[in-house]
Amino acid sequence: MSLYPPMVAVRDVTKVFGSFKALSSVSMEIARGSVQCIIGPSGSGKSTFLRCINQLEKIDRGAMCVDGELIGFRRVGDVLHELTDAEVARQRLATAMVFQRFNLFSHLSALENIIEGPITVLNRPRAEAVDEAMALLERVGLPEKRDAYPIELSGGQQQRVAIARAMAMRPKVMLFDEPTSALDPELVGEVLAVMRDLAASGTTMIVVTHELAFAREVAEDVAFMDKGEVVERGPPAVVLSKPNHSRTQDFIAAVLR
């Protein structure tokens, strides 16, 4: 795994909501094909961090690159110009997002959810998109649910379809925003299994999660965030087992209790 150039490079990114500083000067580099887990208490800015990479939030300062391309802005001389809606939409193709609340399109069946992007955004032929979507449904273990509407699926099944929908766009990076936090405990395993499979296939993943066991097993690198800052970063064996920082120690003790 080559470390350079990184798939995602974030430099001094600050994001403010009113008077609340959600991210304060965050920097991070995520290597190609690696799994980066981000842990931290709620309100620590980890979800905001993901949403900034996917441009669901506009950053107030700093810069980020995905696969070498500056995100959200175009540099002209010494200034950065905001990109247009269409340019932002094109850049988002590189980063697919899996949401905490699944957000499957509720008026479309599982299969239709997966082929929607390839057909309307990538202009792929329908038959081809359907074939690929079926292959993805096989991969997440739900081929028999192709015609089911989201409301007819369990939370775990919805999230697996949502992962397939994200994969159908063939993104360079998969962003997971607490993908198992809205699930009943017995459904968490099936979603983590799909994510483990993805990680093994060499997909670059950034995962915001509370599943420390998953992070320990799958992540190359774990970052602990608190109050909009990256407090500590390193291999899971260090950050999760013998963290250096007292805030990390307190958090991990609280989660494991």
């Binding site: 669901l56 809606d85 939409a89 957000n103 399109f105 955004v121 007819e152 994200a166």
Partner: protein, 297 residues
């Protein structure tokens, strides 16, 4: 636990006996009385119409009279065109209203304010008499027409009804759009859709569930609202019925003819609304046979 008191032992014995008794369903005497009263009133109304001085043969005679049928066609065409214009304007102004652009927002607010704030009859008269303000329309030097030639009763009615409808429909559509969870928009954006595609492919199809019942309601109102266009000589069904009864004095008969046609059109529309609602309720709870989904996926 101590031994149960003797009284509860007796209660248990009684319960065993009660459990074997026959059940007599509750009788709804009130419903029977109400039904008899209502049927009585209904019979009285039917008898009144049967005995009244209504020449039913005249009703039958004019039911398919050419003037009535052409009026019917004009009513249906105007309803369809005015609603099409109203819904198109409604979508445009609803989206403008929700735009971050203050100029677009302001114009949408002004449009809704003006057309909801003035009587429809007044708007119709304004359009019809537009020539008093603008004798000529078009691009000076290139294309010019006399306003009186352009503002036929049809065009004036269409603009009047359509623009007025648009102001109301804009609010209905806005509420429909607001009813769609923000997560749907985020998910659509995250797979690279532009704002317009998000609206067209994800938000509007889901908003339809909320939009259709009130718009169906307005469609039905519109059928009857077209009759107001008789004031500017648009020959819809009620105006043609009036023209006939001015000549033959069969007032009630012709009103019955018109009423029957209105009811038929409205019945068809209600049927259409039922099927539309069913179509757009896809993925909303009730499970339907898969056979319904064939073709359109």
């Amino acid at each position: 636990m101590s031994a149960p008191p003797p009284s509860s032992v007796k209660a248990m014995r009684d319960l065993a006996e009660v459990a074997g008794l026959r059940i007599v369903p509750r009788r709804f005497y009130g419903r029977w009385i109400a039904a008899i009263l209502i049927l009585g009133v209904f019979a009285w109304i039917v008898k009144a119409f049967a005995d009244g001085q209504i020449a039913w043969n005249v009703v039958a005679q004019f039911f398919t009279a050419p003037a009535i049928l052409s009026g019917l066609v004009n009513t249906v065409i105007m309803t369809a065109c005015a609603m099409a214009l109203g819904i198109t304007l409604g979508v445009i102004f609803a989206v403008m209203y929700m735009s971050p652009n203050p100029v677009l927002r302001g114009s949408a607010l002004f449009y809704i304010w003006f057309f909801r704030g003035t009587p429809l009859l007044l708007q119709l008269l304004l359009w019809f008499n537009l020539a008093l303000v603008f004798p000529k329309l078009g691009i000076p030097g290139l294309l010019e027409m006399r306003t009186v030639d352009v503002m036929t009763p049809f065009v004036a009615t269409l603009l009047g009804l359509g623009m007025n409808q648009g102001a109301y429909t804009a609010e209905v559509i806005r509420s429909g759009i607001l009813s769609v969870d923000a997560g749907q928009t985020e998910a659509a954006k995250s797979i690279g859709m532009t704002r317009l595609t998000v609206l067209r492919r994800v938000v509007l199809p889901q908003a339809m569930r909320v939009i259709i019942p009130p718009v169906g309601n307005e469609f039905i109102s519109m059928v009857k609202l077209t009759s107001i266009a008789s004031v500017i000589q648009y020959s819809e069904i009620l105006r043609n019925a009036q023209t006939i009864y001015y000549a033959n004095a069969r007032v009630i008969e012709l009103l019955i003819v018109a009423a029957a046609w209105y009811l038929m059109v409205v019945t068809l529309l209600q049927l259409g609304q039922f099927f539309l609602e069913r179509h757009f309720s896809k993925g909303r709870g009730e499970r339907r046979p898969r056979a319904d989904l064939g073709g359109k996926t």
